[in-house]
């Protein structure tokens, strides 16, 4: 008898569970895959945005997922998804402008495989210098370069955005042949390397060099932007664009699979725009992450990709050789 009662209770529980699952909920979970390290800037922003999604939508819940792997992760994502799947992915200039030129065989996708949803932020990279060199601005840098035999720069990755920014700056200043890019496995390692004097300079996101700067290990030389930095700890740091040197900001776009309904894409874009307009999100981005909210149009995205591609093509030899 006991066994019969137990069986009946189990069957009933399972049936109730199944019926609950068939409840016809309108809410859809969208997984946002970030193909970089979970501790990286993009993954953290994605996580923060996802945590706020329920405040602004009753239909969409964003679930952030970070799988380190860059091109390989996006390849898998493209292979495993189709139009209207509730899947989103991050990709930036690293894939569309750098890998597409340096190692196109690595990409099993083109921009046409995606539909643009939104750009969440833009990051102005800064160049730091070993504090013992006492380089505090562009004029100090020019004086230093005139007598330097070698210019060593630490970057997070051999062919990263940071490496190309260093190549573009020193190449356009006429010192491309003296440049030696030393690749590190993370921005934190690159920051420690310059503070220890292993390299003279490092290029990184502002947030990634902040702690080393506050400890006095490095000075900040310049920002890779058109104008000087106006806010935060690095306010007043000169933008290289002011001197006519090439630059680009780091941007990572949220993309859906191509063919996804325009209505759905608009809904997702509106959700992200609402999240980015939230005061808490904006202040977190600027104060904690040292990033700027930077919503974009499809045309802006194309322009950004093209600008970086032009820089990569021009300074390809310096980085690769």
């Amino acid at each position: 008898m006991k066994k019969r009662i137990l069986s009946a209770v189990l069957t009933l529980t399972m049936a109730v569970g199944l019926l609950t699952g068939c409840g016809g909920s309108k809410t859809a979970s969208w997984t946002v895959t970030c193909p970089w390290a979970p501790s990286g800037v993009a993954a953290m922003v994605s996580q923060k945005a996802a945590s706020m999604s329920t405040n602004y939508s009753e239909n969409i819940i964003l679930v952030a997922d970070a799988i380190k792997g860059d091109a390989a992760t996006v390849n898998t994502w493209v292979a495993d998804t189709k139009a209207d799947d509730t899947e989103l992915v991050f990709a930036g200039e690293g894939l569309f402008s750098i890998t597409s030129i340096l190692d196109p065989a690595k990409l099993q996708f083109t921009y046409d495989d995606f539909v643009f949803v939104e750009n969440l932020y833009s990051s102005v990279f800064v160049m730091s210098a070993d504090a013992s060199l006492n380089i505090n601005g562009m004029s100090d840098l020019e004086a230093y370069l005139a007598s330097a035999d070698e210019i060593s720069v630490a970057a997070n990755g051999a062919t990263s955005s940071e490496a190309f920014l260093a190549a573009a700056l020193f190449g356009s200043m006429g010192y491309g042949e003296k440049l030696k890019i030393t690749p590190y496995s993370s921005a934190a390692e690159a920051a420690q390397a310059v503070a220890r004097g292993e390299t003279s300079f490092a290029v990184s996101h502002q947030s990634q060099i902040l702690e080393t700067y506050q400890q006095g290990g490095v000075t900040i030389v310049c920002a890779f932007d058109g104008d000087d930095i106006t806010d935060g700890e690095f306010a007043g740091v000169e933008g290289v664009g002011k001197y006519g040197y090439p630059y680009f900001r780091n941007r990572c776009f949220v993309l859906a699979r191509s063919g996804t309904k325009a209505e759905t894409v608009s809904e997702l874009k509106k959700l992200y725009d609402d999240i980015l307009a939230d005061g808490e999100m904006a202040s977190w981005l600027s104060d904690t992450m040292m990033l700027e909210v930077d919503t974009m149009s499809e045309q802006d995205v194309q322009n950004h990709i093209q600008n970086v591609q032009d820089i990569v093509n021009e300074y390809y030899d310096i980085v690769v050789n």
């Binding site: 380190k68 062919t159 030393t182």
Partner: protein
């Protein structure tokens, strides 16, 4: 340090963390109690499931398995004279004789108390020594790191088993496997054979499922399992330990905990070395030497305190420099790195709240082990006699589910199977698998630091002797290699004499 304690406790004290800790302790105890199932196998099987967790619950779960594995192995050592894990062999020397004297519960109780003391002592050492070692590690540059890696590679000699040559060959296989994927210095692909899924290299967890878990199944398929009969009813004693016995336990437990910590910090050594060394010391210092081998309470306490005192100590080189103290913690490194926690000083500064939560959590893991050990020992004892015919299909299921769940694709299941076949062939050639694991873990780090150091020095090898830290690690490496070669030669000589 103090500024991190508050936020760390806030992160740690959640129902989720405590559930994972307890689940880990339970699973670890069960696995270690069953002869033939090891802690390393258990950690490998459950590692993929932690990939979807955040850092603290994931590490709590794995540390639960790791610590409880130390105690669980003693259950079968005491009950059936077969150590559940290799490092419980020293416990068996006195645990089983004491059990035969009708004091099974008492023997299990002593093992549990000593394990808990050793574990908590080790966790405290990690908490206080970890940040200090990390401060020193932060001063290490690329050349110094290469020297640390080189020293780390001497672990291979310690885990080579009978033949060091075979161990070195196996390590080279591991180093070669670590080369698959993008070149760390140029980002160009190596040995990917045009297979896109190999661009990132091979996932450590998937390879390990093949190397350590599936291969066990293949090996079991070759043997006919014998029945393990356990009379759980024989645990009928009251388990009472007298006041005088408690007094006798104090010194060997404390001393063995210190030995365990010291042994654990040195890469390449492990719980087995610590427990035998401590057992030997306890015997030498005891006033009741004649009891050793015949059910000495001091013998059980010394062996158990030492093998659990290794657990926290092995994490010190892992968390500060990325050098695993033994094979099991080498696997835990991937659980940390998947959550963006890279070994080094920043782990104790910028991510200090998470790190301190994990280190404090290790103390609680040991306390839960005491709790579960006190109430569930009878259950663990019954587990000892679960037939292999039932266990094997469960493990196979876990292997495939684990391999699939990492990236949700069947390619990884295939990779795990290929590695199982490789491991099975290596086993036939009597080549150990742990050096392959260490080669895979240390390979990338060693190569990157070597090549980067030469890039910094424009190809001048003098960079490797350019600082006092480099010199220290060169001396340590030479000493470690010389000691290991000497002990291997002694073993060989002793073998010839026999």
């Amino acid at each position: 340090m103090l500024e991190f304690i508050g936020p760390a406790l806030e992160h740690l004290f959640t129902l989720e963390n405590f559930l994972w800790m307890n689940l880990g302790v339970f699973i670890g105890s069960v696995f270690a109690a069953v002869p033939g199932l090891t802690v390393i196998l258990c950690v490998i099987l459950f590692l993929p499931f932690t990939y979807k967790m955040t850092a603290i619950p994931g590490m709590m779960f794995l540390l639960g398995i790791y610590c409880a594995g130390g105690y669980g192995g003693s259950v079968s050592a005491i009950l059936i004279n077969t150590p559940g894990t290799p490092h419980a062999a020293a416990t068996m020397m006195d645990g089983h004789p004491l059990s035969q004297k009708g004091r099974t519960k008492a023997a299990l109780k002593i093992a549990l108390y000593a394990s808990t003391f050793g574990g908590v002592f080790s966790a405290l050492m990690l908490l206080f020594l970890g940040p200090q070692v990390a401060e020193v590690a932060a001063q290490l540059g690329t050349a110094e790191y290469f020297m640390v890696c080189l020293f780390g590679l001497t672990i291979i000699a310690g885990v080579s088993g009978k033949s060091m040559i075979k161990g070195i060959i196996a390590a080279c296989v591991g180093l070669l496997i670590s080369c698959i994927g993008a070149d760390p210095m140029t980002s160009y692909d190596r040995f990917t054979l045009g297979i896109p899924r190999l661009y990132l290299g091979l996932d450590l967890a998937i390879c390990l499922i093949g190397l350590f878990a599936l291969v066990e199944i293949l090996a079991k398929a070759e043997k006919k399992p014998g029945p393990l009969i356990l009379d759980a009813e024989k645990m009928h004693d009251n388990g009472k330990i007298s006041k005088e016995e408690y007094k006798r336990l104090l010194r060997p437990t404390l001393l063995s905990s210190i030995i365990g910590v010291m042994v654990g910090i040195i890469p390449g050594t492990g719980a087995s070395e610590a427990s035998w060394f401590s057992y030997d010391r306890a015997k030498a210092m005891s006033k009741h030497k004649e009891e050793f081998g015949h059910g000495s309470v001091e013998g059980i306490a010394a062996a158990e305190a030492a093998n659990n005192a290794v657990t926290g100590a092995t994490l010190i080189p892992l968390l500060t420099m990325g050098i695993p103290g033994d094979g099991t913690v080498a696997i835990m490194l991937s659980a940390l790195m998947i959550n963006g926690l890279n070994p080094g000083l920043s782990l104790f500064t910028t991510q200090g709240d998470i790190m301190y939560a994990i280190m404090i959590g290790l103390i609680f893991v040991n306390l839960f082990m005491l709790l579960q050990g006190s109430f569930l020992t009878k259950l663990f004892a019954k587990v000892v006699s679960i037939p292999q015919e039932i266990l094997t299909p469960i493990i196979v299921l876990f292997c495939f589910a684990g391999a699939y769940s990492v990236n949700k694709n069947y390619f990884d299941v295939g990779v795990a199977l290929i590695f199982a076949i490789i491991a099975w062939l290596l086993r036939k050639l009597e080549m150990p698998a742990v050096p392959i694991l260490l080669g895979m873990v240390l390979g990338n780090m060693t190569e990157t630091n070597f090549r980067r150091a030469l890039l910094i020095s424009n190809g001048n090898p003098a960079i490797f002797v350019s600082s006092i830290y480099c010199i220290i690690f060169i001396v340590l490496t030479v000493l470690a290699v010389a000691t290991l070669i000497r002990s291997k030669m002694k073993e060989a000589k002793a073998g010839i004499k026999k």
